[in-house]
């Protein structure tokens, strides 16, 4: 048939019109097609990888994303001179750095467009073993922060003659600021007395670096490095310290069978979220189950296999109930428990066994002192934590607890867990929850193993402060920096000797509390009554801490804080009350060594100012190598934005101790260029090279780097990340190494000749100063590292807490079993326990959950993040409770905070109610990350654009332009070198995308805040091309409240943690109330802190010989051992 047809079709040759004339002619073979042929681009990608191979990072071409999405080069070809309408080809240099928008330090790469010297996008770093090339919304937000139209363009100084908080600012120079600050610091340090060592205070939020600034403070001889850490996580860290003498858990999420989250952290937001969530997803793909324990239905809880909503603070009961069943069902991992629990310490402590009987913890003394008797003792002790009791105390239904037990047993020893935020941070006694977690996971052997829960210090690298060999005075790794001889009571108050990190949130209270100062001064301590210098870094204590009005009072008081400055790239509530605001860079604008325990491995990132690196790699050289980052940022059009490393190097050498008489100058003086401050390449080449042997060896065998002047620095500059050790498990099982007369434990060396072993197998040896230290434990004839506790085992029985530090009740994991015990053990009963909820409208308010897009203070300068979140922060109330109180969705409600220790009221905030099934009845949820405010929309800097400012350069910003690379601004940071800021008119907004305007009133006792104007779109002047949609703002930011200001400080009596949850009374708003209003009695708040201190803590007294147990790590600066000694007068 078809052959026949063919003959028919042959007639086609006889068409009157030729085919070519009929055809539409849809194909083109002109320049567009040729441009494709001549390019490397294909219509379909050769690989799905986002990232080019490393060897192309310096020079990588990529098609512009916008057009690419509309059909690729198949439509318009590749842009060229012959084909101007084709898709643009970006000519990139890919520079690695690390994110700084949470603590996880995920890898980033900045894609620097060579033709414009702008960062076109931030992506992940595929070389990073933790983040594996992926980032969360906050990572990609770095670009919007970099090109934030409101970013602070140059150093600001409070206008002469104005008072703090008046909002009058002038432009100053880095030199002037450093001269004033350096002189004040130098003059204070020069006094040399004890008080002076406590009076120059640095205050950091999340440090996001490992050891650099602490080394600065150590070299200054000061004990006044302060951090936010306590308010974040002291109750999470305290149990880790007690149990294993480490800082925090480091779970092996990726290999776990049971992911047991005691909060929305890890999978949802918060610590190491993006990395942890990805590994959790990997594990679930392999069949792991996820349990989320949270009174609020978080995102994690919503996708969990089991959601448990316990009453806040009762979580300990769940764990002890599990323990009780594991013990009674004989499912204990006996091999692990016998080997690593400190059962022998307890069974040899007759006093404490008798105490346990006396207190009714156990009905009788154990029959023997052997391991089996220990297990019998545990069975007796935890038998009362029955299912019935657990249901009653926690409000979790029995069937869910049954399910939990089933999953817990099914997972065997592959249980990864986390104790952070939620239960720990919210509740008084939250630390005991962690202790119970470790106990029950330990019973199953899920500690430190594959799929189990390991610990921070084995999975972390801290070398950022160890570049000492590059300096004249520090010695290798800082060995010659003298230990600090002081103990600062403002950060480590005597009432809380076991606190974890500084009680930084109490700083304004302690400075205001003259009675407290007098009490301890009378008893022989020297408590500072003021600070000569207060220097927060990128930190916003006014908004973040409880009792914000007290912070404002103290910051405004020039007698209590004589000179203040914030190293901050963006505006904040705190900056408003500073003397100086000094803009240092964001994630892609600063150097840091940053490592975190996100996987069972030791990796570190190298954060870098990417535009500086791009310039240097293109051949640019700074005029002043000590201010290279400042010069680069001016050249790139970011303004006079510097970085901390170079700032501190030079502040120490040229401003605090210019003549070297304080012995500080030499600590930061370059060995290569004596008289000058050390440079970035010098410092980091030493910091990485001297302290990471595998990295050093790798670099020295890599011919690309061996000829470099700073080979290790160069390697890290090009890669941005390094993995020193992988798959780190069961570190306690590592045998002690003996070499050349030295015995090594946890990378410290001791005299092998001095080794001794006691009756419990604990191995001791002398350190280099001849002091005997516990270094390991002998088990089955082998000398092992063990854990770093006093018993070198897991301190389930924390003998030193019970016997030496006045907390005998809490030597073992425990929770009160009846109301009488709740009274006796009030320290570990949450201040929002249901026994305190007596009124019909009383609730436990859960405040501490993080939001996935939130960076605390710095979210508000990212339009990208504000678009996602709109700063929306309502209050969750269960549908039943809402109905009972006649509250409907969107209603404004008054939330009155009441203290359950003193009975005092703190005031109220007005919030937007959202009734939901996603919250446990009787509890409310409202993240305390809402309620940003500012007092004005704009700030005008009178001398910002006038007074002979100089252009940053003449040649167009193009990394292939030789003229551009030859230029560098002169005299940066000096009076004659002030730079013209691109498109800056002298007036700029303040966090215009995320912060509404408010009015505040305060009289020393009572404070009020009311929002007067929401967020609106505006036309951005600076970085106008990047911010071309700045007028498109559809949110007003008015649904949150500054609840932190209403909150009174609640210092946990043991850990010192500010216990964030509140008992609140809810009522409908009154006439005139608006969502966001707050009313605070901060006079009462001071009394609340005093009540918690006086009624609950067990501080130092005349019997005390030590400020704190010597074996507990005190972070940041190396303290002279004598600083721990104390003598308190009766």
């Amino acid at each position: 048939m078809y052959l026949e047809s063919r003959r028919t079709f042959l007639k086609g040759a006889a068409f009157t019109v030729a085919g070519a004339a009929i055809a539409k002619g849809v194909f083109t073979t002109d320049a567009a097609a040729e441009s494709v042929e001549n390019s490397k681009f294909t219509n379909t990608p050769d690989t799905l990888s986002f990232y080019p191979p490393l060897d192309q990072w310096d020079n990588f071409q990529e098609l512009d994303g916008t057009d690419w999405k509309r059909g690729g080069i198949g439509r318009h070809g590749v842009q060229s001179e012959e084909n101007p309408d084709g898709i643009k080809v970006n000519d990139y240099m890919v520079i690695p750095t690390a994110c700084s928008n949470c603590e996880a330090s995920c890898g980033l790469t900045a894609w620097v467009d060579k033709k414009t010297m702008t960062v076109k996008k931030y992506m992940g770093n595929p070389l990073h073993p933790g983040s594996r090339g992926r980032n969360c919304a906050k990572g990609y937000a770095v670009q919007s922060q970099m090109y934030d139209p409101d970013r602070i363009p140059f150093p600001l100084k409070r206008a002469p003659g104005s008072k703090r908080g008046e909002g009058k600012w002038i432009r100053t120079t880095w030199d002037e600021a450093m001269t004033t600050i350096g002189k004040k610091m130098g003059d204070t340090i020069r006094k040399g007395d004890e008080l002076s060592k406590k009076s120059v205070m640095y205050h950091v939020g999340r440090p996001n670096e490992n050891g650099f600034v602490p080394k600065v403070w150590e070299s200054l001889g000061l004990d006044s490095y302060n951090s936010h850490t306590n308010i974040c996580s002291a109750n999470g860290r305290t149990p880790t310290i007690q149990f294993v003498n480490d800082d925090r858990t480091s779970p092996d999420w990726g290999n776990a069978k049971l992911i047991f989250l005691n909060s929305s952290h890890a999978a949802d937001a918060g610590h190491y979220f993006a990395q942890a969530a990805a590994y959790i997803a990997d594990a679930r793909k392999k069949g792991a189950k996820m349990v989320v324990m949270d009174p609020r239905l978080s995102n994690s809880a919503g996708i969990a296999d089991l959601w448990l909503a316990p009453w806040p603070g009762t979580e300990t009961v769940i764990y002890l109930h599990l323990a009780s069943r594991i013990l009674s069902d004989n499912l204990v991992n006996k091999a692990f428990v016998k080997r690593w629990f400190n059962w022998d310490t307890l069974m040899n402590d007759s006093d404490y066994l008798n105490y346990m009987v006396e207190k009714g913890y156990v009905p009788k003394l154990p029959e023997g002192r052997d391991f089996e008797s220990y297990l019998e003792l545990l069975k007796d002790m935890y038998a009362p934590y029955t299912l019935e009791f657990a249901v009653k105390e926690t409000h979790i239904p029995a069937y869910k607890l049954e399910k939990l037990y089933e999953m817990f047993i099914w997972a065997e020893d592959a249980i990864s867990t986390y104790v952070w935020r939620a239960a720990a941070a919210g509740n008084r006694g939250g630390w005991m929850i962690g202790k119970a977690v470790f106990f029950v996971t330990g019973l199953r052997g899920a500690i430190g193993n594959v799929g189990g829960t390991g610990f921070y210090h084995s999975h972390d690298i801290s070398v950022g402060g160890k570049g000492g060999s590059a300096t004249v005075g520090q010695g290798k790794s800082g060995a010659d920096v003298p230990a600090v001889k002081a103990w600062n009571e403002l950060t480590w108050p005597p009432e809380w000797p076991l606190t974890t990190y500084e009680l930084s949130y109490l700083l304004p209270h302690l400075l205001s509390d003259k009675e407290w100062q007098k009490k301890w001064n009378d008893r022989g301590l020297q408590v500072p009554s003021k600070l000569a210098v207060y220097a927060p870094r990128m930190y916003n204590p006014v908004w973040i801490n409880p009792d914000g009005f007290r912070w404002i009072e103290v910051l405004k008081n020039e007698e209590l804080m004589e000179l203040t400055f914030n190293l901050s790239p963006v505006w904040s509530e705190t900056n408003w009350y500073m003397d100086y605001v000094l803009p240092v860079g964001l994630a892609g604008e600063r150097h840091d060594q940053h490592s975190e325990a996100t996987i069972p491995a030791r990796w570190t990132t190298f954060r870098q100012p990417v535009l500086r690196v791009a310039l240097e790699k293109s051949g640019w050289k700074p005029k002043n190598p000590n201010r290279a980052t400042l010069e680069a940022h001016i050249k790139a059009g970011l303004g006079e934005v510097w970085e901390e490393n170079e700032f501190w190097f030079q502040l120490c050498t040229d401003y605090i101790d210019p003549d070297g008489s304080l012995n500080i100058k030499k600590m930061w003086e370059s060995k290569r260029h004596p008289g000058k401050a050390v440079t970035i390449p010098e410092w980091y080449d030493a910091a990485f090279g001297d302290n990471l042997p595998k990295l050093h060896e790798t670099v020295m065998n890599d011919e690309r780097y061996t000829k470099e002047e700073f080979p290790v620095y160069s390697y890290m500059r090009d890669h941005g990340v390094w993995l020193e050790e992988d798959k780190i498990y069961n570190v306690q099982e590592r045998e002690l190494k003996v070499e050349e007369g030295k015995i090594e434990s946890y990378e410290h060396k001791y005299d092998a000749g001095s080794v001794s072993v006691d009756s419990l197998g604990i191995i001791s040896a002398n350190d280099d100063k001849g002091k005997s230290k516990k270094i390991g434990i002998e088990i089955d004839g082998k000398k092992l590292q063990g854990f770093t506790t006093p018993t070198r085992k897991l301190d389930v029985y924390t003998q030193w807490v019970a016997k030496d530090w006045k907390w005998p009740e809490y030597g073992m994991p425990i929770y009160p079993r009846n109301d009488k015990e709740k009274e006796d053990m009030v320290h570990i009963v949450s201040h929002v326990n249901h026994i305190y909820m007596k009124e019909e409208n009383s609730f436990a308010l859960n405040t501490v959950f993080r939001l996935p897009y939130n960076i605390h203070t710095r979210s508000a300068n990212s339009k990208h993040l504000m678009e996602i979140s709109q700063n929306h922060d309502p209050i969750w109330i269960s549908t039943g409770d809402a109905k009972r109180l006649s509250i409907k969705r969107g209603d404004a409600i008054r939330v009155k905070i009441v203290d359950t220790v003193s009975g005092l009221e703190s005031g109220h905030f007005v919030a937007m109610a959202v009734p939901t099934e996603g919250v446990l009845p009787g509890t409310l949820a409202c993240s305390h990350h809402g309620g940003r405010w500012k007092l004005t929309n704009h700030v005008t800097i009178p001398n910002g654009v006038s007074d002979g400012k100089v252009a940053p350069g003449a040649a167009p910003r193009d990394l292939s332009n030789k003229e551009f690379l030859k230029e560098s601004p002169a005299n940066v940071g000096k009076a004659g070198g002030q730079s013209i800021i691109d498109d800056y008119s002298g007036t700029s907004g303040i966090n215009s995308f995320g912060v509404p305007v408010a009015e505040i009133q305060m009289d020393g006792k009572v404070g009020k805040l009311k929002y007067v104007e929401g967020i609106k779109g505006f036309k951005a002047e600076r970085f106008a091309e990047y911010n071309r949609d700045s007028e498109n703002v559809w949110w007003d930011g008015l649904s949150g409240s500054w609840q932190n200001a209403v909150a009174a400080p609640h210092p946990d009596p043991v850990s010192g943690m500010h216990c964030w949850h509140h008992k609140v009374l809810v009522e409908l708003a009154q006439p005139g109330d608006k969502i966001g209003d707050i009313f605070v009695n901060y006079d009462n708040n001071l009394k609340v802190y005093q009540a918690w201190r006086d009624k609950l803590s067990r501080g130092l007294d005349s019997n005390s010989k030590l400020r704190r147990p010597r074996h507990i790590f005190r972070p940041w600066v190396k303290l002279d051992p004598a600083s721990y000694d104390v003598n308190i007068k009766a």
């Binding site: 078809y2 052959l3 047809s5 063919r6 028919t8 079709f9 042959l10 007639k11 086609g12 040759a13 006889a14 068409f15 009157t16 019109v17 030729a18 085919g19 070519a20 009929i22 055809a23 539409k24 002619g25 849809v26 194909f27 083109t28 073979t29 567009a32 097609a33 040729e34 494709v36 042929e37 294909t42 219509n43 379909t44 990608p45 690419w68 999405k69 059909g71 690729g72 080069i73 198949g74 439509r75 070809g77």
Partner: protein, 207 residues
């Protein structure tokens, strides 16, 4: 030589009919070219072809039918038939774009007015160009190029058009409401099947 001219012309004609609505010039050809009319027997016999004015034919009969067949009710794109999710691949991952690019062809979408390069009209036009190229090679006695081009045509027919066009054309035939498109569907189907037999014979003979 007649054969290659015929093939080229037929591919061109069919591509034009299948690609876009008719214009008056093409309609005139379709109405008057006797050879063309032989390929469209029902159209040839249709009374309205001659009794109705050209503008009315276009506006009330032919173009509404075309719109129905290629935009509203049927989907003349390869990926609609070959992807399991029946989505049209409009991006760079469309399987035909690589083969077009390999011969320096690129679709000018402003002329083609289609959403993707795998439209049936584009594929027929591509065959027309391959035939044209073969014709040129034959004129230059470049037998190697002729062979190559025949192989390419055979491959393209089998990898693309024959994989899906028959389904579309059968649907088109039964959905059509005018004799012209009924005949066009039948002819287009019959022609590629016939052409494939021809090319298969040639290619297998060479190999």
């Amino acid at each position: 030589m007649d054969e290659i001219i015929a093939r080229s012309n037929i591919y061109a004609l069919l591509s034009r009919i299948l690609l876009q609505e008719l214009d008056s010039e093409l309609l005139e050809t379709l109405k008057t070219d006797l050879t063309v009319l032989e390929f469209f027997p029902h159209w040839n016999e249709w009374e309205q072809r001659t009794s109705v004015s050209n503008s009315k034919l276009l506006e009330e009969y032919l173009n509404p039918d075309f719109t129905n067949l290629s935009i509203l009710h049927l989907v003349p794109y390869e990926t609609f038939y070959t992807r399991s999710d029946q989505m049209i691949e409009t991006g760079g991952a469309n399987p035909v774009t690589d083969i077009y690019s390999a011969y320096d062809f690129m679709v000018d979408y402003e002329i083609a007015r289609v959403v993707s390069a795998d439209h049936i009209g584009i594929q027929y036009e591509f065959m027309h160009h391959l035939c044209d190229a073969q014709k040129k090679a034959m004129e230059e006695n470049d037998s190697e190029a002729v062979r190559d081009l025949q192989e390419v045509q055979h491959r393209f027919l089998n990898t693309h058009l024959l994989q899906w066009a028959p389904m579309y054309l059968i649907n088109m035939k039964y959905e059509s409401r005018t004799p012209l498109y009924y005949d066009a569907a039948e002819t287009a189907l019959e022609f590629i099947l016939s052409d494939n037999e021809t090319l298969t014979a040639v290619v297998s003979k060479v190999s």
